[in-house]
């Protein structure tokens, strides 16, 4: 059985990963829709920018976040008077995880939206539905399996996020020390091998559980479609 300290680490990781997913999901769905359905000048560039976190070293992303959201960064300075500080906070860890998982999420949702026959959307419009209603009643439900798959990918990515997190929010016990950071810390301390192993097993179990949940959700959304 996991100890209370281990449980805290797991809960913190889950909190960070879930927040990351909740924050990035609406943005990712919007970006995926635009990429799947719209043509505009600079689309290739926009697409590349979305994929950037996937190809950049995570440390670089973390460093960029530090520059932007740090105490002297342009966004950090704007947020500070509002009482929002991300640097060295778990919310910052969530932001880093969200950004690292974003391309995976966008990619899966975009593929799913592209697979929806656009003529179904046209049919809905001739029946009197405005664009936004068409999106929420036709496009999104039909793309749901892709949304779920993408959510799992980005959630798993968030659970495992290390480089950007440690660079941006450091490794503060109870605040930003998520599972991977804790494992890393134990491997760096003498006699920490057993603790590291225990956490590693927990992290595998967590990932498997996430996989099982998403499989169930996908199956359920597919069943709804065949009903």
């Amino acid at each position: 059985m996991p100890t209370a300290a281990e449980l805290d680490i797991v809960l913190l990781s889950l909190k960070v990963a879930l927040c990351a997913l909740l924050v990035s999901l609406p943005v990712a769905v919007a970006v995926a829709f635009v990429l799947a359905r719209k043509d505009f000048p600079g689309k290739t560039l926009f697409d590349a920018a979305v994929h950037l976190p996937l190809v950049l070293p995570p440390v670089v992303v973390g460093y960029a976040l530090l520059l932007l959201f740090g105490a002297r960064g342009p966004i950090g300075r704007m947020l500070e008077p509002l009482g929002v500080v991300l640097m060295f906070r778990w919310t910052g860890a969530a932001l880093a995880a969200a950004i690292m998982g974003f391309p995976l999420l966008v990619r899966a949702v975009r593929l799913a939206i592209e697979a929806v026959d656009p003529r179904l959307e046209i049919a809905a419009r001739t029946l009197g539905a405005r664009r936004w209603r068409v999106f929420f009643t036709v496009t999104l439900p039909l793309a749901m399996p892709g949304v779920i798959t993408g959510s799992l990918l980005s959630f798993a990515r968030a659970l495992g996020e290390f480089g950007a997190t440690i660079t941006f929010v450091s490794n503060i016990p109870g605040e930003t020390r998520t599972l991977p950071l804790a494992i890393y810390t134990f491997t760096q301390s003498p006699g920490g091998d057993e603790a590291a192993l225990r956490l590693a097993v927990l992290s595998v179990l967590l990932s498997l559980a996430a996989l099982a949940v998403s499989e169930r959700l996908v199956r359920r959304s597919m069943q709804a479609r065949h009903a």
Binding site: D117, R119, L120, I122, A123, A124, R125, T126, L127, G128, A129, R130, R133, T137, V138, P141, L142, A224, R225, H226, A227
Partner: protein
């Protein structure tokens, strides 16, 4: 009144179509790729013309000069697509409810129960769209469009993806809707028998242009039609009424202004209007009425015109009184009989040759 006068480009393809009609069913007829679907898409607001005007019952949907271009959802146009396009993630019931729920109760003029009755949908409401046959899918698609209370129903080749039996079924439903709901329809097809059966007003579309338009009976007899139908399908259409049935021999007798037609028993009551299409290749000509022959229809006619003679075949345009008919015969026969405009002839039409599929209730 449906008024369409539009120009548009589809890549290198120019579409220029104009027609106006208040007939119950306007048919756009032409080969595949002639631009028919583009025209219905323009009416529905899915494709935007470069110039022109579209109005239904005086309500302007599109007018380039006045900068009017209503989005599809505000046009109140029911669109039945070739492949139905039912929402795959919804049951039949939810598909039907989709447009209905978006129409304010005060604007609904077709009751749900009525639509379900007319289209025979009661038994399949709880099915998923994948469990439907082709004909059922198309019926649901028609029902879904009707329940959005449209001002016009657009049907783009609604029978194209169906087998022969399902086609006959859907055609009957379309006729039923026309007679019961008094909802104007635009019917797109490349099949002459569907058009003959349904159309009141016919627009011929060829290479993006509307080349002829007018009352169906008139346009169906026009020579411009034959390149579109293919040589073998050229023919004339006679508007008739069922005069009586010959039960003993299983024949129906149709009366028209200038005579009668006999054909195998058809399922219609005496007095019902019927449109009969007679292919030119099924009409033979004689200078005297044959005395002991099997042919059942012998119609006295006058030759109006003989098409220019190329090769072995000529088309002879006839008038039975005022009713036009076309006969396709060999050039040799025309020469042997010394046929010329003004000659009185007897047109011979075998009862069994009259295309049953094209005989419709006008």
């Amino acid at each position: 009144m449906l008024e369409v006068d539009i120009e548009m480009r589809r890549g290198s393809f120019a579409v220029q179509v104009a027609f106006a009609s208040d007939a119950p069913i306007v048919a756009l007829f032409g080969r595949s790729g002639a631009g028919k679907s583009t025209v219905v898409n323009a009416i529905a607001g899915i494709a935007r013309p470069t110039r022109g005007r579209i109005a239904i019952g005086g309500r302007v949907l599109f007018d380039s000069a006045r900068g009017i271009d209503l989005p599809p959802e505000r046009r109140h146009v029911g669109y039945v697509f070739q492949d139905a396009l039912l929402f795959p993630h919804m049951s039949v019931r939810s598909n039907l409810a989709y447009g209905e729920s978006l129409t304010p109760a005060s604007e609904r003029f077709i009751e749900r129960g009525r639509v379900l009755d007319l289209l025979g949908l009661h038994g399949i409401l709880d099915r998923g769209t994948r469990e439907l046959s082709g004909g059922e899918r198309q019926r649901v698609a028609i029902g879904r469009a009707l329940l959005s209370s449209p001002r016009i129903l657009l049907m783009d080749e609604p029978l194209a993806s169906l087998d022969a039996a399902r086609r006959a079924e859907i055609l009957q439903y379309v006729e039923l809707l026309r007679d019961e709901l008094r909802l104007p329809m635009v019917y797109v097809s490349h099949a002459i028998e569907e058009v003959t059966r349904l159309a009141d007003h016919l627009v011929l579309v060829s290479e993006g242009k509307s080349i002829v338009e007018g009352p169906a009976g008139e346009v169906l007899g026009r020579p411009e039609l034959s390149p579109l139908t293919g040589r073998h399908e050229a023919g004339a259409v006679i508007e008739t009424r069922v005069a009586r049935h010959d039960e003993a021999f299983g024949l129906s007798i149709l009366a028209f202004a200038d005579g009668e037609l006999v054909l195998p028993n058809m399922d219609a009551l005496p007095g019902e209007p019927v449109r009969a299409r007679i292919r030119a290749r099924d009409v033979a000509l004689a200078l005297e009425p044959p005395r002991r022959a099997s042919v059942q229809n012998v119609l006295r006619a006058e030759i109006v015109r003989i098409s220019e003679a190329f090769g072995a075949i000529v088309d002879v345009e006839l008038r039975i009184g005022s009713t036009p008919l076309i006969a396709r015969i060999t050039r040799k026969a025309a020469t042997d009989l010394a046929l010329a405009p003004g000659t009185t002839v007897y047109a011979l039409v075998k009862a069994v040759s009259i295309d049953r599929r094209s005989v419709g209730f006008a």
